[in-house]
Each structure stands twice: as structure tokens, then as C-alpha cells.
Symmetry: none
DNA sequence: TCACAAACGATCAATATCGATCATATTGCA
DNA sequence: TGCAATATGATCGATATTGATCGTTTGTGA
């Protein structure tokens, strides 16, 4: 077996299990302890994994891998203040008792902070959102069924006949990767799939996007502007972008950051 | 088992329950008291948990109460050692890659601790089980859709057309309130509903009950003995109860509590 | 208060892992 | 093919970890 192949095997093993032993790798690659040790040492200096007594461990997450996974947590801190302000406005649209749908995403996740005191039926396809609402609020939480995708932090069923079809809400809240004249754009096909399932289950579609999203482009179009009832964004939105929404008959809410929110990395575009 | 892996297990356990004993960790990791003490001491100086007499406690004060709410957590400490031993045997029945269904419950919840190193498609209707597997393992987690019932900690859809129908597994694991000649008994109508949805989605039905359940009676019968493939219980089971199962053609696995049962007692009755 | 059991800390032997070294095998190249 | 460079496997002394034992401390209940 070649060095590269062993490295590949070791790395993939250490991805699956947070910690692997030298013995396990010996069995898996059918090579000697000495070789595996050398491999681990080499991968260690390459910072591809961390060498520990007895084997190796994954370098990236010293603690949790699943839920607070990479894509979610890096994205989470991005423009946090804006996202919070936007999320606050989103929750302000809701009345107690009124059922809503919250699509998974880092911006929509911020809504949970303002939902703690509420009492509403909330349907979501996001595991972290459900988890937080369950632990920190009295809302009725409903979850879509299916496989939990760790990367995207959403739950998605490959079948059409899931509970999603049985829930109908006043509003659906969702984020997006981009928003332009052609409509709502998303980057991940999996997210598209999840969103398209929910999009028809509510009267009004409310889109939460920070203003930088107006300058993002993506290849995957989810739906046209006409389908959107309301857009909530921050005050970085430019006039022509606001005009575009107005022309399409989309209501616009501009969220101002509160005094309590940090006033630092305000607009970058 | 390796130091890092034990540390991971201990930390994950201390997150599930605010306090864990040295004995529990000995059982969970199959290592000696001395080792566990050293581990706890090490994690203590790393400030990853707080060392207390008899075991360790979470470093952060009681954070969440919502999810691990009363009905779940009081039940959880009840016969904990037996439940764990039973759960261990249950996981021993599984092979990697083999899809299984885990019905929600305090006994079945214990299975998660032994599933951390596995790689299996796991379908469950229990939010805590899904949460734990997601955070502490690499298994593929699938969740049933519907409303999350806080009391019972399960997810249930009032509709028949959910994803549940699309998942078929080798085995389904479930607990029960009672087990007698008439079959499997449950106390909560909601649980009955949840269980009946899943019960036909697997080849074999494996029931996890501590021996006290043989003397419990309940008014709600879920299914007859003939439907059950295997019962896993502790050594408190009496002869006539064992005979009853034998007569009904149900395989019986008796989990021994304290012995370091590294060698699985593979009796395929 | 006292007796008793559980938990603890220290110690030591057994075991596992490591690092270094050398012999052997494979690969690359002239 | 022959040779050098590199990779691999094996051995062995050094070191770290583990589990068992034992005496001591701590908590509990009569």
C-alpha cells in the first residue's frame, strides 16, 4: 500500500471517529506499527491531525463536531449584530398564537433569541433552532422529519409525503445566499430542496438577508421576487436595490441596529 | 480504550447528567477506578469539569432544564446501572452499517453511550437521542417529523404519511412500561401512538426492560408477545417469567450489571 | 459518638507505547 | 542491470499508562 493511500485512510478514519488508535490503523492498512507511527508523525507536522499517545485525533474540533459544525459556526459570527437586528424585526412581525415556519440558516437562527417569551406554533427544519426553542422557550415546536444533514444543519426527507405538507402557517421566514432581480438565490442544492418544500406552506414569504446579499450572485434560483412578501435587511441597502424591491411589490423592512448592539463592523460593502 | 476517548466519554456523560459517579464511568469505559480518577483529575485541572467526591460534575451551573425536564431526568437515574447494562447488550446486537430504529425512552436513551464509535443509519423519534448522537457520534441520524412533546420527549406526527413509513430497519429497539403474558404494555397513549407507527418498520422487535417491568401492569396493550423477537433484561428476571418468554418463542438476553463484561455473552436463543 | 462502608491517594508491578536503530524491500534513475 | 534513495518492517531499551493493592480519609447512619 502506498504512503498516500495510507494517509488518505488515516485521515478519513480520523474524520469519522474523533480519535483513532495505531492498532486500528495497522489493521485497516495492513502495515506495521512503525509505518503508521511515521505516517501519523508526518500528518502531524502537516497539521492534518494531532498526534496523541496511542494514536491520533482530529485537529479541528476539540469538542463537538456534529451540531456546531464547521459551516454553521464560522458563518454564525459573521455580521452577527446585523443578523440579530434583522431577526428582531422578523419576530416583531409575529403575533402570539400565529403559526410560523422558520427555515434553517444562520440569520433565521438569530430569531430564537427573540422568541423566548413567545407562545407560538413553530415549524422548522433546523435542528439547532428546534433545540434552542425547546430548551429556552415555551413555544410549540414542530420538526420536519428526515435525515439530519450535519453540514447544513437541516433535516431533509427525500420523500414528498412528510409532515411538512400538513403544516400551514401565516408566515415563513428564510435566509438566502443572494437576492437579485431574478429572485432569491441559494448556493447549496440541498438547501434549495429543503426550502422548496416549505415555500408553499405559508401565506407570506419573509426573507431575511443582510444588505451584502444584494451584491451576491449564485447559480441556483429558488423563486422569483413576486413570490416574496417582505424583505428584512439592514441599512446598508442601496437605493436602487430598494427600488427593485418596490417595483416588484415586495415590502421592505430596514432593521436598525440597537444601541445595545455593537457598532463596529457595520457595513462592509 | 484510550485516554482521549475516555475523556470524550466522560465529558459527554457529564453533559447529559449534571453529575456522574466514578462507578458509572468505570462501566461506561470498561476501565479501572484508578484510571477514571486520574482522568477526572486531569480534566479537573483542565477546567473541563469539576471534580467532586464520588465523581465529577459539569463545570457550568445547571444550564438547561427544559429538555432534560423532570419526567425524563428523574426516570433517568432510576436503575441507571441496570439500564446501561441492558443498553450495552442492545448495542451489541447491532452491526455497523445495519439500519436500526430507536424508540424514545430512558432505557433506550442509554444506548447512545455505546453507539458513539459506531457508523449506522439510526432512525429515532426521540429528540434527546438524536441530539446526543448528532453531537457525539458520526452515525447517520434520521428523525421522525412532527410536534415535539416535552413531557415524553418524543416527536409525533398526527398524520400517517410521514417519513416514518419510508424507513425500514433490521431491528427496532424500544422500552415499555410493562411486559406480561398478554404482551407489551405502555402507560401513555401518546407513546402507544408513537410506537405503533414504528413497530412495523423493522424486521425484529427488540424490547429493553429492566426486570421490574415483568411485575408491572398497565391497561394499554401495544402488541402481543409473538411480535417480539428479543427481550433484553437484567438478572432480576424470575424463572417463570423467563419460561413465559421461552414459550412464546422470544429470545432472552440477560445483561449482567457489574461484571466487566467486555466479552459479550452471545446467547442466541 | 462510634462503627462501617465508600472513596481516596500513593505505590508498584504489568503492560502498552514510543523512539531509535538496523536490516530488508521497493522504487527511481542512469 | 546496477546503484542510490527511500520506504518499510523488526527489534530493543526507554518511557508512559494502567490496574491492583493497601493504608488513610471522609461521609453516613445507628
Amino acid at each position: 500500500m502506498h504512503e498516500k493511500e495510507r494517509h488518505r485512510i488515516i485521515l478519513s478514519a480520523v474524520q469519522e471517529k474523533p480519535v483513532v488508535t495505531v492498532q486500528e490503523m495497522v489493521e485497516l492498512t495492513d502495515s506495521s506499527e512503525a509505518t503508521i507511527r511515521r505516517d501519523i508523525a508526518a500528518l502531524h507536522v502537516q497539521k492534518r491531525l494531532r498526534r496523541v499517545r496511542g494514536g491520533a485525533e482530529a485537529i479541528s474540533p476539540p469538542q463537538f463536531i456534529g451540531l456546531a459544525g464547521r459551516p454553521f459556526s464560522v458563518n454564525e459570527t459573521l455580521n452577527a449584530a446585523q443578523k440579530r437586528a434583522i431577526a428582531r424585526e422578523a419576530v416583531n412581525l409575529c403575533k402570539d398564537g400565529e403559526p410560523i415556519i422558520i427555515n434553517g440558516g444562520t440569520t433565521t437562527f438569530q430569531m430564537v433569541h427573540f422568541l423566548t417569551g413567545r407562545r407560538m406554533p413553530i415549524f422548522t427544519n433546523s435542528f439547532p433552532i428546534a433545540e434552542h426553542l425547546l430548551k429556552h422557550s415555551k413555544n410549540t415546536v414542530m420538526l420536519s422529519g428526515g435525515t439530519i444533514y450535519r453540514e447544513q444543519n437541516i433535516i431533509l426527507s427525500p420523500f414528498d409525503n412528510d409532515v411538512t405538507r400538513n403544516f400551514y402557517a401565516r408566515r415563513m421566514f428564510m435566509g438566502a445566499q443572494g437576492l437579485g432581480p431574478l429572485g432569491l438565490m441559494e448556493g447549496d442544492p440541498l438547501l434549495i430542496q429543503a426550502e422548496q418544500k416549505l415555500i408553499d406552506q405559508a401565506d407570506e414569504l419573509v426573507v431575511l438577508v443582510d444588505s451584502s446579499k444584494f451584491r451576491m450572485r449564485s447559480s441556483l434560483i429558488l423563486c422569483g421576487l413576486s413570490r416574496i412578501a417582505t424583505v428584512i435587511t439592514d441599512d446598508g441597502i442601496e437605493d436602487r436595490e430598494a427600488k427593485m424591491l418596490e417595483t416588484a411589490g415586495v415590502a421592505l423592512v430596514v432593521a436598525r441596529k440597537q444601541s445595545s448592539d455593537k457598532e463596529e463592523s457595520s457595513l462592509q460593502a
